[in-house]
């Protein structure tokens, strides 16, 4: 877990501290936990995994918790849904998409005694934590697998939106592929949606038509990997284990495991020890989990396992310096032997060798 204190400065935070200071945390006998999902629970990707986390809370605490969720909440119209949870007695509320940031902040100011947790954002308050996962760690591993598995030498990527999280994922994937296959080429198609099986499937088909034979995705439905399966190509599951949708095509999947975090945060509210924090977990903290490596030769599998272990132990950082930008110039190394967290979280450049332009 890292502390991104640099992001923590917020207008009004001081006023909030006073407001929240009045309510000293007390242990509770029972907590009500609410969730706001951006997609349907049945997307089998992003929102589905968050809901798995909700179910884990129910399983862990039984009668001591009550959970609620609201699904498919449009980001531009989410303030009301969040406030509904806050005013119906929920003690802890998770808002699970970047676009919920401003509304969550607004509602958090109005309800200083309710604890809020916002996924993938950067604005915090005394009663508002943020959390995100280092998916790019997993993407480095699948990049290496892709580099080994491709026969055409061209690998593909279905992106949702060109935001830093997605760009960092693409770079990490490509750096992984390049590390085992220096001549590999990468093609990217933007679906401009998080969840739209039809569009995602079309984006995947466009890539496969261009000679891509290993497909990665950063959108939420299983449509891209299903497209790969239908064409006899291979790919990677995203957010959740998609093996049941593509048993022959899925090499592995990068699973978002929110369960441990959600259970820990709920426990903190029960114990009265909840504090506003910033959490950025990866393979080491089990927030990012790789499903078993399948449908690949033993040597590739062995390589993937070793890379996973190296990242887990901290030996290997996908963004170890030197990292070169698309123009061939070295990116200033602001971290300790690797790009700093801030550089990764705000990434808006492609690394050298990617023959594509970030949509501006």
């Amino acid at each position: 877990m890292f502390s991104r204190t640099i992001f923590g400065v917020l207008a009004g935070a001081a006023a909030l501290a006073v407001a929240a200071g009045g309510a000293v945390a007390q242990p509770k006998d029972k907590v009500k936990v609410g969730f706001i999902y951006v997609g349907p629970v049945g997307d089998h990707g992003w929102s589905y995994q968050h809901d798995q986390g909700r179910l884990a809370i129910e399983k862990a605490f039984g009668d001591k918790v009550e959970t609620t969720y609201v699904e498919s909440v449009p980001e531009a119209d989410s303030e009301r849904a969040i406030e509904q949870l806050a005013r119906t007695g929920h003690d802890l509320i998770f808002t699970t998409s970047f676009g919920f940031m401003e509304p969550t902040l607004k509602v958090a100011k109005k309800y200083p005694n309710v604890k809020f947790e916002h996924a993938t954002g950067f604005k915090r308050a005394p009663n508002l934590s943020t959390y995100a996962a280092k998916f790019h760690e997993g993407r480095y591993i699948i990049g290496q697998i892709a580099g080994k598995m491709t026969k055409t030498g061209t690998i593909g990527y279905v992106g949702a939106f060109p935001i830093p999280e997605v760009i960092a994922g693409i770079n990490s994937y490509f750096l992984g592929a390049q590390s085992v296959n220096p001549n590999v080429k990468l093609k990217v198609v933007w679906a401009n949606t998080w969840y739209d099986p039809a569009k995602e499937g079309d984006a995947a088909k466009a890539l496969l038509d261009q000679g891509v034979d290993v497909l990665a995705q950063h959108t939420d439905s299983p449509a891209p990997i299903q497209a790969a399966e239908a064409r006899g190509k291979v790919g990677f599951g995203q957010a959740s284990d998609m093996e049941r949708f593509a048993p022959k095509a899925q090499l592995t999947a990068i699973v978002d495991n929110w369960s441990d975090y959600y259970v820990a945060r709920t426990k903190a509210v029960l114990d009265g020890t909840w504090k506003s924090e910033d959490t950025w977990g990866g393979l080491a903290s089990n927030m990012v989990v790789m499903t078993p490596y399948k449908n690949m030769p033993d040597d590739v599998k062995k390589m993937a396992q070793e890379t996973e272990a190296a990242i887990r132990s901290g030996q290997l950082n996908p963004f170890k310096c030197p990292v070169y930008g698309q123009d061939g110039k070295e990116i200033e190394c602001k971290g300790n032997g690797a790009l700093s967290d801030e550089q990764v979280l705000g990434m808006n450049f492609y690394v050298k060798g990617i023959e594509d332009k970030i949509p501006q």
Binding site: F7, G34, P40, T68, Y69, V70, E71, S72, P74, E75, A76, D77, E79, R80, A81, E83, Q84, L85, R87, T88, F98, G99, E102, F122, F161, P162, I163, P164, N192, L345, G346, M347, N348, P359, Q360
Partner: protein, 358 residues
């Protein structure tokens, strides 16, 4: 055997007035049956869906907030639809209004610009929406291009322009490259009517638009002209009403009101430019306009009813753990029942048994 619909000669005004009530009761009965089959209490669902939102002050406020853009857009659309012109692109005009108005908010951000910013933003919003609405109107009057297609396709153009702006030139330089603008200054923010509430002045704009429209449609030559153009285009021509200027006028009005809704929503609710600023208000408003039978007061009621189904649906998810799909199914059932009730009032259903004839 088959059904046949024959128009009723005299439709009693009482039947017409009672039709929506019957539609409501029927749709609640159907939805109640579904909920009962799911093993839940239909009475508790009705309570959460309807009674609570209509009795709790917080929900009432939210109801007005949600109904505001719907009413503004739908009242504009009623001008087009009355003249038999199919503006399906209110969503695009909404977005363009938001873009025009937000330009000023961002241009004056961090300056000492005073009270004039907000009114100017609202005017720009109206202008942006109206100009964008005039594109399909112009294409139709000049080249005879079908306005349904052009207005709909221009929605996607507007959304992509907004997307470009949010990710590119208007992106908050301090926002870690995330696709959103800075939050608007207080001078560019539409304030709530009551200090502590969420209902902003947009609600008053919507009410004004409804009242003005009621007067225009009922009491002016322009209103008569719209009705005539819609019901009997040839008669309108003989009466000397130019179809071209009617088309341009209604698209400008409709686009302008959608544009106003857009800038009102951005400056009163969202407070910044984001890649997406509407959960489909422009399309939902088409439903609202028809549910309200293109009548200003009807539209006001319809906007509130549709808003109620959204808010009740959220409460049902939170309090009863009923799935969202049920809310959406209920919205569909409601619309179907209202349209069916209307049809049954205007037409008589006859069973025709086929004899040995044809």
């Amino acid at each position: 055997m088959r059904f046949e619909l024959t128009p009723r000669a005299n439709v009693s005004p009482v039947a017409r007035a009672l039709a929506p009530v019957a539609a409501f009761i029927t749709s609640f009965l159907i939805a109640g049956l579904v909920i009962w089959l799911m093993g839940r209490s239909p009475i508790a669902a009705f309570e959460v869906y309807v009674t609570q939102p209509l009795t709790d002050p917080w929900s009432l406020q939210e109801l007005i907030v949600k109904a505001t853009p719907l009413a503004l857009i739908a009242i504009g659309l009623s001008y087009c639809f009355r003249a038999n012109l199919w503006n399906i692109g209110a969503e695009g005009q909404y977005v363009m209004g938001a873009i025009f108005g937000s330009w000023l908010a961002l241009a004056t951000h961090g300056t000492e610009a005073g009270f004039w910013v907000l009114p100017a933003m609202l005017c720009l919003g109206i202008i942006g929406g109206a100009l964008y609405g005039l594109i399909p109107a112009f294409l139709k009057t000049r080249f005879g291009v079908n306005e349904i297609l052009t207005s709909l396709m221009l929605v996607y153009v507007a959304q992509l322009i907004l997307d470009y702006l949010a990710r590119g030139p208007w992106r908050d330089p301090k926002g870690f490259n995330f696709p959103q603008s800075v939050t608007f200054d207080p001078a560019a923010t539409l304030p709530p009517i009551l200090e502590t509430g969420r209902v902003h002045y947009g609600a008053l704009f919507a009410l004004t638009a409804i009242l003005v429209t009621a007067i225009i449609l009922g009491r002016t030559l322009f209103g008569y002209r719209l009705k005539l153009t819609g019901d009997a285009p040839r008669a309108a021509q003989f009466a000397g009403f130019s179809a071209r200027s009617t088309t341009l006028a209604v698209f400008a009005i409709s686009g302008g009101l959608a544009g106003l809704a857009g800038i009102v929503e951005v400056s009163g609710q969202i407070g910044q430019i984001q890649p997406s600023i509407s959960p489909g208000y422009g399309f939902t408003a088409i439903t609202v306009a028809f549910l309200g039978r293109l009548n200003p007061i009807g539209i006001l009621v319809a906007a509130l009813v549709v808003a109620l189904t959204f808010i009740g649906g959220e409460s049902a998810q939170i309090l009863l753990r009923l799935p969202l799909d049920l809310t959406q199914a209920f919205q569909g059932i409601l619309l179907l029942c209202v349209l069916a009730a209307d049809a049954l009032v205007s037409y008589r259903v006859r069973f025709v048994t086929r004899g040995g004839g044809k």
